[in-house]
């Protein structure tokens, strides 16, 4: 069953959700009141978006550095094109790897095509974990680098509704 909100209501709901979910006992009823719909209509729409995979996650955005996750490493690897999909899938399923993407090389400036994010509290712990992951998958001999972040200049959850081009930060 497709949700019964019209396009304007859907856009309005998206822009409200991107600001955050109301901290109310019945948040979807509150959102319904704001857009002129019932709680049930809002729930159906949100469940439909969830089923379509439109949410990357439905929960909370942590200020992970403030919570002690200060050792934040981007592991980049140069994996032959013929192998990169298989290696990406292996690493993507490995515990401790939060994100794993394939990206283009930009020769001669940049030769790495596989990117993984690993977060931890201590740098040495993250280095040891990554060394163990590379060894477990036999990847230690491929060119790779660990790019630790030393400072966050801007960290904010994106808010992308088209009618709200200005995104507040932090």
């Amino acid at each position: 069953m497709s949700p019964s909100l019209d396009t304007a209501q859907q856009l309005h709901l998206r822009s409200l959700l991107e600001v955050g979910l109301p901290l109310h006992s019945q948040p979807f009823a509150v959102l319904g009141e704001r857009i002129g719909a019932t709680q049930q209509q809002v729930l159906e729409q949100v469940q439909d978006w969830q089923a379509q995979g439109l949410f990357r996650r439905f929960g909370l955005i942590l200020k992970h550095r403030a919570l002690g996750f200060r050792a934040n490493a981007m592991l980049v690897l140069d994996i032959p094109d013929a192998l990169v999909e298989r290696v990406g899938e292996q690493l993507g399923q490995t515990a401790g790897i939060n994100l794993c993407y394939q990206r283009p090389r930009r020769l001669p400036h940049w030769s790495y095509n596989l990117f993984c994010m690993v977060h931890g509290r201590e740098r040495a712990q993250v280095e040891a974990r990554i060394a163990a992951i590379l060894a477990a998958h036999g990847l230690q001999d491929y060119p790779h680098r660990l790019l630790f972040s030393s400072k966050a200049y801007k960290q904010c959850g994106g808010r992308y509704a088209p009618q709200q081009p200005e995104r507040a930060c932090g």
Binding site: G20, F69, F115, L147, Y153
Partner: protein
């Protein structure tokens, strides 16, 4: 941050139930009250532990686009260039990293053309070439911080 906070945050990182009374469901799971959970989330937002509570849309489903990009910024100009980027609404994150490409940031735009325009704007603003690395394949997205 006590044990209750850790359990609450760990649970919420897996998402909020999409039900009429989501807090009631969580309260039963966490052996707390719906009122107490909401109040605690509000406090964690107020004190900055959480920056946001609510869904993150995958903007690519709506025709939007992301890219990861980098600059190689001369040390003397680093903070000034970081400020230039911070002023751009398309810049969602910006981290200093230990590499010759020392400034890494995410751009989020409503359209793929917007990314190209933003890259050109950053190059014009800074006079530095941008390394633009849009993702070609996603193998895993599961940002999760066990507390």
């Amino acid at each position: 941050m006590d044990d209750f906070d850790r359990r609450l945050i760990n649970r919420l990182q897996h998402g909020l139930p999409l039900l009429a009374n989501p807090w009631q469901v969580l309260a039963e799971e966490l052996q707390s009250s719906a009122q107490q959970l909401r109040q605690r989330v509000q406090e964690l937002l107020d004190d900055g532990t959480l920056t946001r509570f609510g869904p993150m849309f995958d903007i690519e489903h709506f025709g939007g686009a992301f890219t990861l990009a980098a600059l190689s910024v001369p040390e003397a100009r680093f903070d000034a260039v970081a400020e230039q980027l911070a002023a751009l609404p398309e810049v969602a994150h910006n981290y200093r990293r230990e590499h010759a490409w020392n400034m890494w940031f995410v751009l989020a735009c409503a359209t793929p053309q917007g990314i190209d325009a933003c890259v050109a704007r950053i190059e014009a603003l800074t006079g530095l070439p941008v390394l633009n690395l849009p993702k070609e394949e996603t193998y895993h997205v599961g940002l999760h911080f066990p507390l």
